[in-house]
Symmetry: D2
Subunit: 349 residues, 4 copies
């Protein structure tokens, strides 16, 4: 790549926006040229507008960038959207209409018929929906979405298993980190030494998004995968990393050994193409009886891998196991960036 | 009651032991006369031997009690056992053989054929097994056990539902408090800002003990209840209170309204007999969308009630909900004390 | 007392407001008749307007109270103010002008020349300033304030020592609970597993308010006490209870034994008059080497006592020790209520 | 460096030992060839013996190392000691006597007359004491110690200020992370949502070790620096990173600006020699009003820098500020390694 592609971040001062900024620094293909946010930040420098709370210092160059409005007049080709769902829908549509490649972490367009909801290891073929978008608009812009964070890790693990054994039923109970709720997000008085057994809209997202991702593209539409999921979601006092207790029933015969083998050896397009943000091994199987654990494991592979442990039979369905992933990296900003990398590698951008 | 019954605590310096001591202070029927512990504590005063970490002060009278060995030479009629499973089995057998009424929180005898595993609201009839014990030994001593803490709350809620609708399948994923692991128990480096998705032996206990409690006593034996449970257990950084996400399939038709009505109105023998430690309402149904929560709800009803919230349909089984209970009170020491109160009220002690 | 005095709470839905509501339930002298809050709550029931997060249930009677505006048309004689400093100043002045007895937890009027800043155990004589207020206004209303929460515990301990030994220099470093910042207050992402070594305005409050409380009323004004304080304040991930590490230099000879004796035996007017909210012993000296601790000690004496431990010589000044108090009870709502009780007992209300 | 120097770790399975192992992996000068621990680990592989709880994976090569006894028959030239104080004294003496270069993190020999207590940025000249040790023993072995973790950061900051302005009096109140207590260390039931205002022996260490480090070597002995320190130490629920609130009085005139300038520009021998573990800038001055914070700042500069913020006047002494450092890296294992690197660079090893 001779020259870096200019990229912008929408909602750049928020939690996901900051993670985009952090991950894009020193990116080999992308150069962050624009940071856009809500009215009250416009005109300030990014350093003034953002209450930076990542655990690496705010890059000096970014500190001095001027914050722009979230309007399609940004000097860049790609925009990454960390916008709040309250405004993301319309803004992203405007940017796509104006010719930008939009990679969104917001939920608004995920279930739109012509918008791909993509995990590049699993359903890169859904990206053909972009052509429909372009045809409809007559322009070159489009929207690609990535899933809700909890959905990401569940789908990542179910994907290879579905292909091999045919998923029929899934039970999942999550324990989700506070960073998943943005900033300021969860009040400390609500969560310190506590569990909140409810996350608004989360269970519905897991139950539907997973089936779109693992569904088949046919006739210009995605058919939802034909299994049933029951999700129960909880907030726990953990900084980063969602844990999911999963039980699954397959249509075909499987075994603990076959599941481990399948997950451990699974590779996808990002690994083949050696995309810059791709984890060398997307799914890491752990053998220790008490792993994975968020604080100890989640940053292995730079927060881009999904961890599975305690794979064992289930007395009710067939097998059960524990999943872990980094909710703001692989589950949010990193997922959008990986999607963009794939389209660049495929020459579609 | 003219005169209080003398009681002792085995394993009195440990986590459960301290909770026994705390709950027995000012008990209307029982007087704590003996505290027994391991060799290294014997001869010291309780104040010297115990690293008291309850959030009420150590009662002055108890501070000066002399710690005895765990041998059946204690001046009391009832002993409550908070012993570690490594030693509980034999010690409790010795005390029963010597004529003591033993109420144990340890797992060792829970599954013995002639030992009742009792939640007095649910299966007080299992206490007839005491007669078998007495007949076998020829003495008046016996052992009564209460369940593992997570099992307690699950069984408490499934009990009335099983009777009404016939439980067929149960999923449960738990988030358990650190106090459930005793003291010093879980290292802070292991759990601060973390989740440990494993508790040794816990899943097996839930899957079997629940079925013994809800099983039928017939021909001098308990037939395990005929449903299947799949349990996944996790440790979370919460001080007191276990949360359980449950999904259940019934044999008969049920509805959210019918479940709520059944749970809310459920009463058992302890309520009828107005036992001193009995919660007026054993199961409290919460309507707020994000409750129950451990830190906010667990001490209502003095830690003796079980809370249920988020009762709603399940796309996989029939219904799902969230349960909360206080693991060291209703789930341990308080359960043993309630068992003892029932036998006293029934004139069996 | 034949009939209860009607009281209202200003800012009733906030953190301090809720604590007022909780503490006033079942008060022997006061009946909570009015709850007032900001515009967006007016007209709703209290149950609808307040996100109740105390660990006792919201009293049913209060749940149905209609929330009023913070205007002096409330049906009550006394108002307790848990208002935010942004609005408290003016509102409290209006209520006093309209004849209400105002007991405020807000900082706005604490340093006003004619407003008493009172800890009834220490400087009840400052309440004479009320007469100045009444004279000036010609009405019967007035404002009485209590101190900042960290100041409360420091002043409570320094008070008896100042009288006995003459305080000359004080160094204090605090570790303050999250509940001190109100609700939603501190974001969990900011404080989970972290320390924030800064609380806006807090050090200044401690350094000046302590000296006003321990100052002498002379000629209708309070002369600030003549010692110097250096305060450093920190936020820590603790729910309730502020810890303060203190070092102090006296003008007269003292000893560890003399300090303990002085603090342990100290009693004030609230104890003499047996006011309903008065702790029997205002200062509790602890001998264990690692106490006081917030989670274990702060609720002893219903959160109204101040704890002192580790009293020992200081190589730099004279003596050092550790202080603990409950920031939202004795340090806020409970302090205001105790002030009101004193004025009622003295027949001034 | 042609060939790497072989090094071993004593107490390799413990908390500090694991940090040594982690930091020595991929060290450019040292090769970890030996891991030694207590009897019950001897003969196992390191992977079996150590409950690895670092947040990077255990290096495969190390996993398979055989654990040796802590006896001077190890195949290496340097040993790093992470031994517990209960055994460190004698073992380290034996290794030195046998000719090993011993770099110890244990407290036992820190105050020995002929043992240097060294922070290489500050008092590298104290290393001349090694010659005394060698002369006395006739061999080439010796012991070099680094300070207690809290002392490290305080001394690091006081060092340049003492040289410039002459320290006269120091107050320090610490908030220390749980990793400072080793593993399992602090029980979660003791520290979750709590503060423990006591760390056994810690205050004494800070008050004396700081003065030895900043003392002058004269006539073969270190004269303690002539200032007075008063330390108060607390344990807080933070994983890594000690915060210290400091107030200091100087003999000479200083100013906030002069202090900042002095600290920010301070460099020592490790920076001059570009030692592999040396932070490029040993002291980082932060300007944000609420920094440094442990979770956000402590890993900047790989945990080897010391952070200072909130530098401002003190109403009691002259100036006050907040210090942060990583207790198990710069405050323990990293400090020992830096000491070893200096001696290698100076050709003394």
């Amino acid at each position: 790549m001779k020259e870096k592609i200019k990229v912008g971040v929408l909602g750049a001062t928020g939690a996901v926006g900051q993670k985009f900024v952090q991950l894009l620094e020193n990116h080999p293909w992308f150069e962050l040229t624009e940071v856009a946010a809500s009215e009250r930040s416009v005109g300030k420098t990014y350093g003034e507008a953002a209450r930076w709370f990542q655990n690496t210092p705010l890059p000096e160059r970014i500190r001095h960038l001027s914050v722009k409005a979230c309007q399609p007049q940004l000097d860049c080709q790609i925009v990454f959207s960390g916008l709040d769902a309250a405004v993301a829908g319309e803004v992203e549509t405007e940017f796509a209409a104006a010719g930008y490649a939009v990679f969104s972490n917001a939920r608004n367009h995920r279930l739109d018929d012509d918008v791909p909801l993509v995990i590049p290891e699993l359903n890169a073929d859904h990206l053909h929906l972009i052509d429909l978008q372009r045809k409809k608009s007559g322009g070159s812009g489009f929207i690609v979405t990535n899933s809700n964070c909890s959905t990401m890790f569940l789908a990542m693990v179910l994907g290879p298993l579905h292909q091999a054994f045919g998923v029929e039923k899934v039970f999942v109970a999550t324990m989700q980190a506070i960073s998943g709720a943005g900033y300021p997000g969860v009040a400390s008085l609500d969560i310190l030494g506590n569990v909140i057994p409810f996350i608004n809209g989360e269970e519905e997202k897991i139950e539907i998004e997973t089936r779109k991702i693992l569904g088949a593209l046919a006739g210009g539409r995605v058919q939802l995968a034909g299994f049933v999921i029951s999700a129960q979601t909880n907030r726990v006092p953990v900084e980063d990393g969602h844990i999911e207790c999963v039980s699954v029933k397959f249509r075909k015969q499987a075994s603990v050994a076959a599941i481990k083998e399948r997950l451990q050896n699974f590779r996808g397009l990002p690994q083949e193409l050696k995309l810059p943000s791709a984890p060398p091994q997307p799914i890491i199987v752990m053998e220790e009886p008490d792993r994975p654990q968020p604080r100890r494991d989640v940053m292995a592979a730079n927060g881009m891998a999904t961890f599975v442990g305690r794979i064992r039979p289930c007395p009710l369905l067939d097998f059960r196991f524990v999943i872990l992933g980094h909710n703001t990296i692989r589950g949010a900003a990193g997922a959008s960036i990986l999607n963009a990398e794939l389209l660049v590698a495929q020459g579609r951008i």
